[in-house]
């Protein structure tokens, strides 16, 4: 490595770290992202300046294909589909690591004449990269609803099978490290690791998905760092490890926001416990559901003093955020105080809902975090729950048999009345019933969230 390249790498590290620091604050985040991107550009250019580089045409081809696919994908993706896009980008990163490890095996004929640490690092990268690629692929499929969002499990066979797969991939790796030369061995490593990725993510319920994506993100970082050890490249080591470490912390923070532990999430089965959910509903005494109309809802809102909007993923898929904003404007014009109670995991990722509401020009100050919202609910006249379900489910506090028991929720039932906008009586992403819908304070307004809110807007204008 020449001095120039080393210096450029160091500049890139500084930019990565400075950029990431910026990304932890709302005001500096946009700039932080571009600073990190500049660091990446410098790292790429520096690598191309390494002595003895060739194959320029193929390099240009790879970079070109990547740019042609990546740029439009990132530009066109809808804000609601953001989580699966992140999963996809993470997956291809892991896939790249796995492919490079495979080629490393091929060009060194099974790490012949290479120090042992190179073989170990490269094989570790192969395993983790492959897990990340296939795991992210399944996560993408689930969020995109190509695959069922509900947990798919093998029941009791699940854990033993995962352990067998892990043992198999490690065994293949050990055979390679101790002198195995057959190419089938590395293919075995990649396939077994890929199956682990599939089998671990498949049983995980939708609500836990963001945490899993974050975890796989950290994995890809670690695999990149391992690849850096194998290739003796400091840029890969530093950037990969920073992502590995920060990704792990982030995963932990997300899990904490949902009151879930990472081992519990990986053990799977969340939302699969139908018996617990069923018990909740019968426990509610089969109270009839009270439904309301847009006209009634509009009147109820117009005579309220304080309205709290509780947005959820249903609002996002119906693209109702602009209609909600219009409704809030009309209410505010009547002197009604409108705020938004944003659960940390509203939408499909922490912060996802803030993004969607900000897109509709909802002022940042009107967004209340969970604790603030919960202390405000007793003074709220009408809580308008739009397409949110699990984050308002009282079973999380009252029913220890519920799969989401212990998750912090928004206490909408402590407000004076509740209107729930929902497409149907279907259960939420976690696949469990919600006693809120049969609560005596609750009126249900069935229909597409955007149409319902639009209807309320029309009624409010007519009042």
């Amino acid at each position: 490595m020449t001095t120039l390249v080393s210096v450029l790498y160091i500049v890139a590290f500084v930019l990565f770290i400075y950029g990431l620091m910026g990304m932890t604050g709302p005001r500096t985040a946009v700039r932080g992202n571009w600073i990190a991107a500049a660091g990446m550009a410098i790292a790429v250019v520096a690598t191309l300046l390494l002595p003895g580089m060739g194959n320029w045409l193929l390099i240009a081809l790879g970079l070109g294909i990547g740019a042609v696919i990546g740029v439009p994908a990132a530009r066109r993706v809808k804000m609601t589909a953001m989580p699966q896009m992140v999963a996809l980008f993470n997956g291809v990163g892991g896939g790249a690591v796995a492919l490079i490890a495979w080629v490393e095996f091929r060009v060194t004929t099974g790490y012949e004449d290479e120090p042992l640490y190179v073989a170990i690092a490269s094989l570790f990268a192969a395993i983790v990269g492959s897990v990340s690629f296939w795991g992210s692929g399944v996560a993408f499929g689930k969020l995109q609803e190509i695959l069922p969002g509900r947990p798919v499990t093998l029941g009791r066979l699940q854990q033993p099978l995962n352990i067998v797969l892990l043992a198999a991939s490690v065994a293949f790796a050990v055979i390679i490290a101790s002198g195995g030369r057959s190419e089938w061995l590395i293919i075995g490593v990649l396939v077994a690791a890929g199956l682990i990725g599939v089998m671990v993510v498949l049983p995980i319920g939708g609500a836990d998905m963001p945490v899993v994506i974050s975890l796989l993100n950290a994995f890809t970082g670690l695999s990149a760092a391992a690849m850096g050890l194998a290739l003796d490249n400091t840029a890969l080591i530093v950037a990969g490890m920073i992502v590995g470490a920060s990704g792990s912390i982030l995963t932990n923070l997300m899990a904490q926001a949902m009151n879930r532990s990472i081992p519990a999430i990986l053990a799977g089965g969340f939302g699969g416990a139908a018996p617990g959910g069923a018990a909740t509903v019968s426990g509610a005494g089969g109270r009839p559901v009270r439904s309301t109309s847009t006209a009634d809802a509009a009147i109820q809102l117009a005579y309220a003093g304080r309205v709290m909007v509780v947005p959820g993923y249903g609002l996002a898929v119906a693209q109702a955020q602009h209609a909600v904003r219009e409704m809030a404007d009309l209410l505010e014009a009547k002197g009604i105080d409108v705020a938004y109670a944003v659960h940390p995991v509203a939408g499909r990722m922490p912060g996802h809902m803030n993004v969607l509401l900000a897109e509709a020009d909802v002022p940042y100050e009107a967004l209340k975090e969970m604790d603030e919202s919960n202390s405000a609910f007793p003074q709220v006249d009408v809580s308008l729950v739009i397409g949110a379900n699990d984050v308002t489910n009282p079973a999380a506090q009252s029913d220890p048999s519920s799969p989401i028991y212990g998750m912090p929720i928004l206490n909408v039932t402590s407000s004076r009345s509740v209107i729930v906008l929902k497409r149907s009586m279907g259960s939420g992403f976690a696949g469990i019933d919600n006693a809120l819908f049969t609560d005596e304070k609750t009126a249900m307004l069935f229909g597409d969230a955007k149409e319902s809110v639009g209807g309320i807007v029309e009624e409010l204008k007519a009042l």
Binding site: L20, M23, P26, R27, R31, N33, A36, M40, V44, L48, L50, G52, N55, I59, G62, L63, I65, G66, A67, I69, G70, A73, A74, R75, M85, V86, L88, F89, N90, V92, G93, A96, L99, I100, V103, R106, V107, P115, S214, N217, G221, A224, A225, L236, G240, I242, V243, G244, A245, S246, G247, I249, L250, L253, G351, N354, V355, L356, A358, D361
Partner: protein
């Protein structure tokens, strides 16, 4: 010797740990997306192996795919993060000074 590499590895781990100790919930998703873009650094691995020359068509194909994957990870990651964060742009005193679109410029300081 790998000992220096391992030292760098450990120190980088601490950097990552310290940088992300305190983040508001709101920024979890953009931050995940941003770190996601950074591990696109694996792109360099593909560049190094391919750039220093490999024989065989399959090797070349695999590496071109790896580079394309890394590139998707990098450009897609940073662009998506920017789009997410663009939604958070501050609007000074309620006036919306069309600060969307042009990503480079900062709309207004508060």
């Amino acid at each position: 010797m790998p000992i220096e590499s391992i030292a760098i590895l450990v120190l980088a781990g601490f950097v990552g740990y310290t940088v992300i100790s305190k983040v508001p919930n709101t920024l979890h998703t953009p931050l995940m997306s941003g770190t996601n873009a950074i591990h696109g650094i694996v792109l360099l691995g593909g560049l190094i192996v391919l750039g220093h020359g490999v024989d065989g068509v399959l090797n070349k194909i695999l590496l071109v795919v790896a580079i394309a994957f890394g590139m998707i990870n990098v450009v897609g990651g940073f662009l998506v993060t920017d789009r997410m964060l663009g939604m958070f742009k501050q609007r000074p005193g309620g006036q919306r000074s069309g600060g969307r679109g042009a990503g480079g410029r900062e709309g207004g300081e508060q």
